[in-house]
Amino acid sequence: MNARMKPAASAWQAVIGLEIHAQLSTASKLFSGASTAYGAEPNTQTALLDCAMPGTLPVPNREAVRKAIQFGLAIDATIAPQSVFARKNYFYPDLPKGYQISQYELPVVGAGRLRVRVDDGRVIEVEIQRAHLEEDAGKSVHDAFHAETGIDLNRAGTPLLEIVSAPVLHSAAEAVAYMRTVHTLVRWLGICDGNMQEGSFRCDCNVSVRRGSDAPLGTRTEIKNVNSFRFVEKAIEYEIERQIRALENGEAIVQETRLYDPARHQTRSMRSKESADDYRYFPDPDLPPLVIAAADIARERDALPELPQARRERYVAQLGLPEADADQLCADRATADYFEAVLAVLPGQAKLCANWVLGEVAASLNEAGIEIAAAPVSAAALAQLLARLREGSISGKIAKDVFAAMWAGEGSADAIIEARGLRQISDSGALAAAIAAVLAEHPSQVADYRGGNEKLLQFFVGQAMKRTRGQANPQQLNELLRRALAG
């Protein structure tokens, strides 16, 4: 292919900004007392306000405000001492008031930043322009009634934190890495459950391309409501390619809203809901400015947990863990806390603890399809097992068996070791007897070994292990075998 006819894709730079909607995990809605629990019968979790009954008024949920503050502090942003709720006006059947209460000119969280590790190992600092509180809309239900649309207002009024990045991401991989970092952070802070299937964490992607990093920004399109990391990646990749192809064919990019179709891995133009929408934002006269006292901010700051970034760095610098291990452990706070609880019992054994948490524990969780909080083996129970392994009472192989039994609910490590008689044989007399028996049974192999075929050592180790039902201390067994065969 002629390079002049088709310039390399690298000549183009993609410019991506994400608007992430994180549903704040509060018991009640942003402005009403109705429950936010997911999955209830339609229209059973609606206060009068959520149906926009005449005369009803919004009252801000302080818990949602607290969670927004926590996020702001975690991204090193300024918390506005006074922010303003504004109305975004538009007509839609699942928007009962005819406006959404959001924040426009004065958001609660100002500019902040987040360090993001991209898959290729680079660390980028992503500027977050703002994060603001807003209420979710209801849901239109198109399949419940013949030829009619139903409205479910259970979700109407659910608190969202909209986190707006600057247009500083330049690839689908960077965008996904950023989104994952935010996902980890909001779950770490306990302000959002991060459940993407239920829509608790979703994202709008603004994508444009330009020729090189110095060119003016191109026309952008917005891909609405993407709710998985993979879809975000695919949608952005598709959109970048589509835009480059269009521009190279001399077509213009239309500023529009697009939808991602996961079945085809494509984005397509959405019936624009009034593409030149004028939302007529203005301060909500039902809500005085949201005033946050410095003391409230200080209190949230003091209560902030060690953040994933800091913890990850500590694991590498102080515990000497490989970066990959630190990354995985800090992927969520429950895992990192679990790891630290094990480590607390086994100081200095960070690598061993990490191996087990990321190995046996992670594999078992994965297989069972549960979260670490629900693991049947507690950190303390695992620590006991690892202590037995460390002191040589059991071998690594036996430890895995014991772990499986613990997972199956058969009791503590000590109880299982005791009940099954798994304590490692470190008694040299007992081992010597077993070795003697093995050598006596296999005279030809003994001769071979002594003739120079030292590979046969593993054969003797295996035989001796069999005789001791796997309980022989492997190091000691090796040592004694070598000596016996040499003799």
Partner: protein
Amino acid sequence: MSAASIAALAAELAAGRRSARELAEDALLRAERGAALNSFIRIDADGARAAANAVDAQRAAGAAPSQLSGIPFAHKDIFCTRGVATTCGSRMLRDFVPPYDAQVVERLASAGAVSIGKTNMDEFAMGSSNENSAYGAVANPWDTARVPGGSSGGSAAAVAAGIVPFATGTDTGGSIRQPAAFCGVTGLKPTYGRVSRHGMIAYASSLDCAGVLARSAADCAVVFDAIAGFDPRDATSVARPAEATLALLDQPLAGLRIGVAREYFGSGVQAGVGERVHAALAELERLGAVLVDISLANAHHAIAAYYVIAPAEASSNLARYDGVRYGHRTAQARSLDELYSLSRAEGFGSEVQRRILVGTYALSAGYYDAYYLRAQKVRRLIANDFAAAFAEVDLIAGPTAPTTAFRLGEKAGDALAMYAADVNTVAVNLAGLPAISVPAGLADGLPVGLQLIAPAFAEARMLNAAHQLQQATDWHLQEPAA
């Protein structure tokens, strides 16, 4: 058999000479006889009888009654009443039956007051003549060819006609005070935030204020004490300890400084109105008050600012009437857009549509700064004027409205002339201040209102002055010929 004062009726009840049920029946009868005024949209005879019976039973059981228990009254049809249709004067809400009570409704019910029904009003409280009601205009009891004022025209007419001793109202730009002036009754608009807006159907949220129309300042004070107070369901409600409004009523006025704003006596003021207001001011002076000439330099911008801000908020507040969940739904829609546009075109009257259009325009991209933002700046200047004045004086006085009640239909075709009727009242709402309109006698046989304006939360001082004036005069006791 017109209604006596709250205190007189309370005394009758306490002495056992009358029962709450009898008072309710009397009021229902008066309402029936006064039906030609069209001051009520709905009479709730069953509800009134049940409530009166309950009060009588409580009294018989020895429960300590409040001053309002057993007193009949009426609610402006803007307050949501559980199980009783609440139309807000609109076809849009013809069949709307709220599933809950407004805070004001709760407060008065728990005080034992007995509502006999819902009074007529301009649609969604938009109007100064009560001609914008989907349920017909209301006649002024002083001259049935004239308007009662608006938007609380039904409440003012019902009190003036003696049907009930008091009625609730709301005031966004003068909707309590101007009809009070036109009908010769006393109308109290409290400080913004004093009375909860919970359950009060919104017109312009930053201006809307619940209050009361009654025969005297003393009666207004009793009702004010019952409805004022913090409500956690309204984020703009203000947490302040209650003041001893009633105890302060009898304080002498010696040394009270009353600012007389020269802007309120401009060329638009009808001669008879000016005379009556000056006579009332002279009376206050005789009672010991000191009159101080003051200026409210930005007063003439109030109407313009108001008619940007109020419609802007209304355009958003009324978006919920979309035919989807409740209220009028067109039978003609073939698409979602038609569901919206036809339901709203059929459900809203022309003045409401006009204000929604004006407000939508004022908030639109490209016009927001020139209109909405500028109006907010003017609002700030107006509030500053009042603040500066109140550094010098305790109250500010002037005519409530520049004219007496005009004829039905006289201004119906001229929106700007109609808006001018609010010239002296809207600034008070823009500044969130309390104000009261008290009768100041008649000009050519029609009532004139004196407006007293107080600093925020100084209702007690204002009620005190109004009460002292009424102790010394009988203007508030004048009644229209039956």
